[in-house]
Structure formats: C-alpha cells, structure tokens
Symmetry: none
Subunit: 226 residues, 4 copies
Amino acid sequence: METVTRIAADTDTDTGTAPRRTPRPRADALRNRERIVTAAREMFVEFGPDVPLDEVARRAGVGNATLYRNFPDRAALTHEVVLSVTSRTTDRADEAAAEEGDPFAALSRFVHAAADERVGALCPMLSGGFDKDHPELLAERRRLEEAVEGLVARAMSAGRLRTDIAVGDVLVGLSQLTRPLPGTACLDIDRFTHRHIQLFLDGLEAPARSELPGTAATLEVLRRRP
Amino acid sequence: METVTRIAADTDTDTGTAPRRTPRPRADALRNRERIVTAAREMFVEFGPDVPLDEVARRAGVGNATLYRNFPDRAALTHEVVLSVTSRTTDRADEAAAEEGDPFAALSRFVHAAADERVGALCPMLSGGFDKDHPELLAERRRLEEAVEGLVARAMSAGRLRTDIAVGDVLVGLSQLTRPLPGTACLDIDRFTHRHIQLFLDGLEAPARSELPGTAATLEVLRRRP
Amino acid sequence: METVTRIAADTDTDTGTAPRRTPRPRADALRNRERIVTAAREMFVEFGPDVPLDEVARRAGVGNATLYRNFPDRAALTHEVVLSVTSRTTDRADEAAAEEGDPFAALSRFVHAAADERVGALCPMLSGGFDKDHPELLAERRRLEEAVEGLVARAMSAGRLRTDIAVGDVLVGLSQLTRPLPGTACLDIDRFTHRHIQLFLDGLEAPARSELPGTAATLEVLRRRP
Amino acid sequence: METVTRIAADTDTDTGTAPRRTPRPRADALRNRERIVTAAREMFVEFGPDVPLDEVARRAGVGNATLYRNFPDRAALTHEVVLSVTSRTTDRADEAAAEEGDPFAALSRFVHAAADERVGALCPMLSGGFDKDHPELLAERRRLEEAVEGLVARAMSAGRLRTDIAVGDVLVGLSQLTRPLPGTACLDIDRFTHRHIQLFLDGLEAPARSELPGTAATLEVLRRRP
DNA sequence: TATGAATGAGATTTCATTCAT
DNA sequence: CATGAATGAAATCTCATTCAT
C-alpha cells in the first residue's frame, strides 16, 4: 500500500539481449527523478506553483535539461507531484485506519498527517496548466477518496460525525486550510494550521458532544505527531 | 463608516496666492484610479496575484501607463487592493454588528459577507512583494480586528462561542477557506465555500448546542444573501 | 551684442484691433520659455541630453504640456539650448576681445569663460536628433566662429600662437575637454577642467621652442600607425 | 602582458570524486561572451552607453537572453567593457614602453594608440550605473596608471615633459579628447582626434620655451574669474 | 544520457508625446 | 494658455523550453 515510484515504460526486461556490462546507470536516473519530484514538492509548497523550473533543478542538484528530459513540461512535473502527494496522503489515511482504534481519532490523525504531507499545496496546482482528469490521477484520487470515505463512514456510523458531511467536505476544507502561503510568511501561519484544522474538525463532530470526546482523542493524536 | 478613497499627498498647500479652490479635473482621474483598483481586486481573485498588470489595465479600460502613473509598481497596487478589501470587510463587520440582533447571527452574517468580499484573496497577496507593515495598512488591519473582536466578544459573552477562540482564529480560518483558486477551477470550489465556512463556524460554536441554535440563525442569514 | 530671446512670430502688432484688456499675460509666457531653456541647459549638462523632458519641465516649474507647447519636440528644445549656449559663448568671446589688452590673455579668458558657459555640453547634443544645419543655428555658429577667429588671428599676428592652428581646433578641443560627465562624477572632473584646457592652450602657444623635438618623433610614430 | 579573459568564479572545486578534467563545452560560450563584449565596446563607442542591449545582442549575433545570461544587467556588461578597454590600453602602454626608444615618442605612441583603443568611450560609462570602485576594476586601473606613470616619468626625467604634469592629466585629457560623439557626427570629429591629442601633447612638452609668456597672463585671467 | 548554454516570447516599467479640462 | 492625465511604443529583464556537446 506504500507509494510506488513510477517510471514510464522502464520495465527493465532487456537483460536477455546483449551482455551490456553496465546495468547500473539506471540507479542514477531513478534517483534523479526522485530528487526532482521531491524538490518540486518542497518548492511548490514554499514558493507556490510558479517557481522557476531552473530553480527546482538546481535544488534537485541536476541540470535543467535533466528535469526536462524526465518531465517534458511544467504540466508533467505538476502531474507527478500531485500524484505523489495524493499517494502519500492515501498512505497516511490507510495508516490512520489501521493503527487507530477510535474512529474519530483515526479521522483526526489522518487530517493532521495530511496537513503534514502538505495536501494544501495541491490546491494551487489544481488551478490550471495541467490535465486534472488524467486517468492516472483519477485513479489515485479515487484511492484517496475511498480511504477517506472509510474513515468518515466509520466515524459517522459510530455516531461521532454529523451525518451531513461528505468526503469532499473533509478533503476540500482540509486542503484549503493547509494551503501554504508562498514566501516566508507561511511560517507564521504554519504555527496555527493544526489548530485551525482542529477547529474545522470540531465543526464536523456530531452534536450532543457535551463531553467533547473527539477533542480529547485529537489532542492525544496531536501529541504524538513528530 | 464606509470605505474612504485615499489619494496620496493631496495636501493643497498653495503658498498663499490665489485660493485655487478646485484641483478639479481629477474627476476622471479618480474614476480611473477606482476602476484600476476594482479590476485588480477582481483579477487577483480570479487569476491570482501574479496576473499581468497589462491585463488589469485592459480590464480597467485604461492604458498600462495610466496604471503605472497611479501605482508605480505592483507592490503599490497590491497595497491599495489589500487596503480596499480590508476596509470593505470592516464595513461588513460593522453592518453585521449594527443590523443583526442575535450575536451568533451577527458573526455568521459577517463571515459569509466577508467571503463575498473575497477576503481570501488577500492571502496570497500577503505572501510577498509589498510592505505588510505599512502604517496605513496596520491601521486598517487594526480597525478590522477591532470590529471582529466586537462580534466575537459579544457572541462569546452570550455563551454562544467556545471560549478558546481568538479573533485571529476567525480571520485566518475565514481567509484560508475562502482563498480562491486561480483559474477556472475556482468556480467548482466556490459553490462549496459558504458551506465550508459554515462548517468551520459550527466548530467555533459553544457546545451543549444540542439544539444547534446557531445553525438555524445562519441558514436564515444565508438565505438573505444576494 | 547680448543674447536676444527669440519668440517665433510674436510681433505683438495686434494692438490696433480689439481693445483686449490684457496685454500682460505674455510676460508669464516669456518667463516660462526662459525658465524651460535654462532648466534644459542645466540638466543637459548635469544628466546628459537624454534627460526626461518631464523632469526638465518640473525643474522649470511648469507642466510638461507647457514645455511641449513651446517646443514641439525634443529637437526643438535642443535647438534652442544650442542656440542659447552658442550665443552666450559668443558674448564671452566679444567681452574678452573688448576687455583684455594682451592678445593671448584675451584668448585665454575666452576659453575659460566658455568652459564656464558649458560649451562642452553642446557636444553630445550635436550628435543626433536635431537639425544641425538649421539656418538660425548656422548663423549663430558663424557669429561664434567669427568672434573666435578674431581672437585667434590677433594672438597669432602678435606671434603668440602657433601658425598651424585653426579656429576649429580651438573650438573642438575646448568643447571636448569641457564636456561634462552625466551624473555626480562630473564634479571630480570639474575640478581639473580649467587646468586641462590650460594645458591644451599651452600646446597652442607659439614656441620660442622652435625646435619642437617631440613633434618630429610623434610624426614618425603616427606614420607607422595601422 | 596581454589581456586576459576573466570568467567569474570558475573555481573548479570538484569535491574529490572523479577528476572531471574538462568543463569542455565552454568553447562556444566563451566565444559568445567575447563577441558580446566586443559588440558592446563598439556600440558604446558608436551610440553611447545607453544603446539598447537587445541591439548589442543582435550585433553580437546572439539572443538577448544569452547576453543577460552572461551579464545579468547593464552594469555587469559595462563593468566588463571598462575592464576590457582598460586592460587593452595598458597593453598599448606596455608595448609603447618596450618598443620605442625615445621617451617622448613612447608617450606619444601610447597616447595615439589609446585613442585608437577608444579610451574616450570609457568617459560616459564612468558617469553612472555601475560600481566604479569594484576591486577588479581598481586593480586594472592601477595597472594602467602604473604603466602610464612609467612613460611619463621616463619622458620627464629625460627633460622632455613639463614637470608639473601628473599621470591623471594625461589620462583625463586623453580620455576627454577622444570621447566619441554618439551618432554619425562622430566621424567628422574623428578625423581631427589625433590632431587634437597631438596639440594637447604639445602642451605637455617641456619648453625650451622657458619664458612661457602666455601662462602668466592666463593665471591672471583665471584669478579674476567669478 | 546529462549538462550548460541558447533562445524567443512575454512581463515590467519608462518616456515622449497627445488630450481634456 | 496652462495643466495634469492618458497613451502606446520601446527598453529591460525573466523564464519555459530547446539545442549542442
């Protein structure tokens, strides 16, 4: 269920033909690709989606042409980053479902973990310049929605969540609230982010919560975050 | 209590000769200035803070140089837009305080009205490229904070708001949740915005709200929105 | 023999028609024209011939449109400045001729006075963008050349000037050596200007140094240049 | 002793892995850089220091962005041109010192050669828009001053130069007299340039004209200036 | 294949000149 | 007639993308 790195059509089935002394160089290429995506994810968060690709390449420690070899244009890189973040976020949802007993605690844990994965950074990327309906992306998004669906359904059927809440509400609210501000100002905001998504979460909680059970569970979850 | 248009340095210090009552021709100029700010506000919302200024000028119906005459650089224009939105938002807060009897309804009305004023559009502009600590801006921000402070305090002392809520929580949460996505995608999101801020608002409500009184009031408020 | 301010076609012969209560406003117009030319002369010297005309208008204390009413384009203003400087320089030559007894002293006085009139500022203006052969200008230049011709001839026939010197040598050398550097750096240079033109002048002086040893060597050098 | 092309920060500090002997591909880049500097030098001479950089790029036969890659702004290009001209002028001084026997001939040769190198083109560039005190530039200027110092000292101790002459007099006079006029007019002037610097040089020559009658008169004149 | 360099298209900003009051 | 404002054309500089080594 972990994130899998995809390399287009690189099935490595050429071992049967020529002796090819060097099967190794692929390692470097793969590593480069990873580093580019990582750098892009970080810099999209830090500087927004318009960050110069040359800068991304520089941070990744590769030449710009290497970036373009791997991702023919900005759309392709954005696509990969969105895919990557979506995938990692799904992983967090699965972890939360698997490891938290309390249904609301599971949801809370997921939400805070997703914030740490910078789901919010996806928002501005969704705005333009790449194909939001690419099949690969749709599939990954579906995976995420299903995972969150599970968390929501469980919390709801345990009577812990308002019944008028949809998965989309959680995901969109979460994304918006964790959207980083480009530039250094983001740090000030960052200190409040987890507090705000918790407030949002509180709004999702089922009423007659005079005891506020979710909040206690959530605080516990927050305490365990890295 | 309404927004006041500021013209830089209109000191009229004629050194004692003729009275020179009217630097009259400004009628057009003022109108142009207004139109530029309006166009900028709209386009910052629609396309983000990096929208080409030439496009802003085009939408305002003036030549690009007219824009630059009024606002020497992007920072100056951004400054004015932030000032304008802040001011208008404060006006909404004052209206809500004056015209709504129920304290929570007043807060709700403000929050939804602020969303309509596109407070969220301020977020990405706050990230960089202009002086966030300009005195004029600080003053206006203070005015807004005071107005919202009033709304929050009233709702809180009526026992309608959780007591651990600060003005900043409202403003930041509100801003983030209403932050527009550049590009056409924003429209899809927009349909949910008021729903999401209502959810957030619900999270701020005082517990033992088994009857959910605020929600009823809010729905009423929402119904009356234009 | 003093500089006369010229206003095109402003013969003021309209006193015979309508009663026209106000024959006065012309005074202001004339004054404005003078102030523009003065400001332009100063700023051409200080910032070079590309100084923004709006700045010239500002220094003159008039609106830019007033400048353009008097001088339809930069060429027209340049023309007037060149005319003005030429005229004033001629005045200096006439004064020197009239008031100095010693022929070489007269020439010297003229040269240094011309430097103070900023003849050098004319050089870059001569380079382009206006009609160097305008009859009005030709006439004024002729006046200057004649005046300097007189100074040179007198010094030469008194045996005080090398006989291979032409008026052009004096004027061009003088102009080049006094050409100001735009920007503040000119001040450093300025301190040396009079020294340098004096050195140049010394080169023009008739020898008692009949042997001129360096010149022979130099001619040989020049002959070998590519 | 010849001009050395400088490449910024080519420190080659490979951190110990493979030897990476050849950052080879620079052959073209270097050539481009040279061509840009050459084009800039020529066009600064021909059109003045405000010539559009796009035009410089065009003359160099490269895209404008290539120019900006090599020289981030006009100041950087100006810096390089000043450096280059200074360096080449120093080379001319060294050559003259080495190859001319007669001290005054050496100085003369240098002066005329410097004119051919267009030292005068440096003048308007020195006025603004770049750091005149950059260490690299100071060093190169020092080299030039030392070289000319040598020529002057030699001529002086051979009794061929007035003893009140400083290196600065030579360099400034030379620069001013050879300063080109932007625009086509420069050609007319150009024909006289060598003649004029020769006249200037003559002024520097030691008298056998011990009496210097004009100078006394001139000093009197200067004393009376306002 | 990976790289640094090159490129053209576009964004920002300035300025000479014209217009409306 | 004088003015401030408006304008488009041009200059500076940036960046996504392509090329050559």
